[in-house]
């Protein structure tokens, strides 16, 4: 009896795959650190320099705050306008991408491909490109942020669109509604809260992104990083960092509270 049970028991699957996966991961890590000269010794050697920098940053020169409040407000304004522009552009794009609303695959896949392309371009590079086109100032920054927002919001929205309840759409078809009427009555009410949430989330990201766009001359607080770091005025740099951090935390907190209320 027990011998029979022994025979019927299936053979345990081989663990070789797991061991090989682990070996490959270790090999990749080791190879990467060799190639980039990232060794532990380097880190230990550089450590005292870090303390030197921190010592120079403190105490922060608080009077510098007066100089940068305007730039910080500009940063927030850039993020606000950029995100809004991107969100508006994202609506038709997301509708074009959603497989359950747009049957034409030859239109859907190219648009999705362009969206993927947009999201692979870093926002700093986008800003640099727009600075080259429109010159220095917040305008190229706003364009860069809106393109980034378009890529992110459209992607999140079309994925949410593909997950909506099909029932109301079917009901609207049965009442004799046309394509646009179906979207207005059966799709938008299902998606609007998600869309608002995605837009707020993108705004959070864009505030952080806008803070560094000044490094390439695209307006905002980032410009002051460049100045203070250039003149080795680290006590001023620390003021900017602390100020940016508190603003970002504040906006993140308010935005996530709002998003919690929406969904």
């Amino acid at each position: 009896m027990s011998a029979g049970a022994e025979l019927k028991r299936p053979k345990a699957p081989s663990k070789l795959k797991h061991y090989l996966t682990a070996a490959i991961v270790v090999l990749l890590l080791w190879g990467s650190s060799i190639q980039t000269d990232a060794t532990l010794g380097e880190l230990i050697e550089g450590f005292p320099n870090m303390f030197d920098l921190l010592r120079e940053m403190f105490p922060p020169k608080w009077t510098y705050l007066d100089n940068i409040v305007g730039a910080m407000l500009d940063t927030i304004r850039m993020a606000l306008i950029g995100t809004t522009l991107g969100a508006i552009m994202a609506i038709p794009v997301a509708l074009l991408c959603a497989g359950n609303l747009m049957a034409q695959w030859w239109l859907r896949y190219p648009v999705r491909f362009v969206l993927n392309l947009i999201r692979t371009i870093p926002d700093l590079l986008l800003a640099a490109i727009f600075v080259a086109i429109f010159g220095l100032g917040p305008l190229p920054g706003i364009f860069a942020l809106s393109i980034f927002a378009l890529g992110l919001i459209a992607k999140l929205t079309y994925e949410a669109l593909e997950g909506i309840d099909r029932g109301p759409l079917e009901a609207m078809t049965a009442t004799g509604a046309n394509g646009i009427q179906r979207i207005v009555f059966a799709v938008i009410p299902q998606i609007s809260a998600h869309f608002m949430s995605f837009t707020l989330y993108t705004f959070e990201i864009n505030v952080r992104a806008a803070a560094v766009l000044g490094l390439v001359g695209a307006g905002g607080i980032g410009h002051y990083y460049e100045i203070t770091l250039g003149f080795l005025e680290y006590d001023k740099t620390s003021v900017i960092i602390i100020f940016t951090l508190s603003i970002v935390l504040l906006i993140d907190y308010a935005s996530s509270k709002l998003r919690g209320k929406l969904l």
Partner: protein
């Protein structure tokens, strides 16, 4: 007013939903369609308003072929056919009133519906419809705040606001408890008798069919195996439809209705 001529529906996977079906429904009838799951009840209903395309034959609504209709013409035919679903198919995040007004969009231009500006007449129609199914006090509630039975009544109000001449109800009570089942079926019956709206209902429970319908149609494997008045729809005939005795699970039960 509804006429099916030699209608067949073949699904892409090869199963036959409807097989050479010929049947017509007259103005003001209350027809119950019974049959096992997969007998083609739902396919039949969804072919009538062309939520499903048929593969063969023709379907005429008031003498007009819905099978051949396109674009605007198809939408105008659909406007006269209201549909009620097992899962209600309301927009859960919208208000009850907006869900009922959704039945009116077929009457207005795209621009007008985008702006959401419904004329006074439509508002009156919507409130009247809600009043008829006794749920007018919920007009400004969100649809998902309502119970299942209430949501199905909102769906009925949507069909009423649509001023449909035909109501197709696909298992309207399948997800409701016996008490709300009675309320919803009573509403459908009342609308049928008071407004003369032709009503075709898919039902799982044969006693419910006998209680409300004036005519019963039995389906098996996409074909009509019974078509006659309630008086002829005895348990023995149903045993033929189902290919066996009527089981307990096909009866809702007298004491609960």
């Amino acid at each position: 007013m509804i006429e099916l001529r030699n209608v067949s529906k073949m699904y892409p996977n090869g199963t036959k939903g409807l097989n050479q079906m010929n049947i017509s429904f007259a103005q003001g009838e209350f027809v119950a369609i019974v049959g096992l799951s997969g007998a083609g009840k739902s396919t039949l209903l969804r072919s009538i308003n062309r939520l499903h395309d048929i593969t063969e034959g023709d379907i005429l609504i008031d003498g007009q072929s819905i099978t051949k209709a396109k674009g605007k013409q198809l939408r105008l035919i659909r406007r006269n056919i209201g549909m009620i679903f097992q899962s209600f198919n309301l927009v859960k995040r919208s208000s009850v009133l907006r869900n009922v007004l959704a039945g009116r969009v077929g009457y207005h231009s795209t621009l007008r519906t985008i702006l959401g500006r419904f004329p006074e007449k439509d508002m009156n129609l919507a409130f009247e419809a809600l009043d008829r199914v006794n749920i007018v006090e919920k007009a400004y509630s969100r649809a998902d705040e309502l119970s299942g039975g209430q949501q199905q009544r909102v769906a009925i109000a949507r069909v009423l606001a649509q001023e449909a001449k035909i109501i197709l109800a696909d298992e309207p009570v399948a997800s409701l408890d016996p008490l709300t089942t009675k309320q919803v079926m009573d509403d459908l019956k009342k609308i049928n008798t008071e407004l003369g709206i032709t009503t075709i209902v898919n039902l799982h429970y044969v006693d419910l069919a006998r209680q409300y319908a004036t005519r019963i149609v039995g389906l098996r494997a996409g074909q009509i195996v019974f078509d006659g008045p309630v008086s002829e729809a005895t348990d023995e005939r149903f045993a033929e439809i189902y290919g066996r005795q009527v089981g307990k699970d096909e009866l809702l039960g007298e004491q609960r209705v």
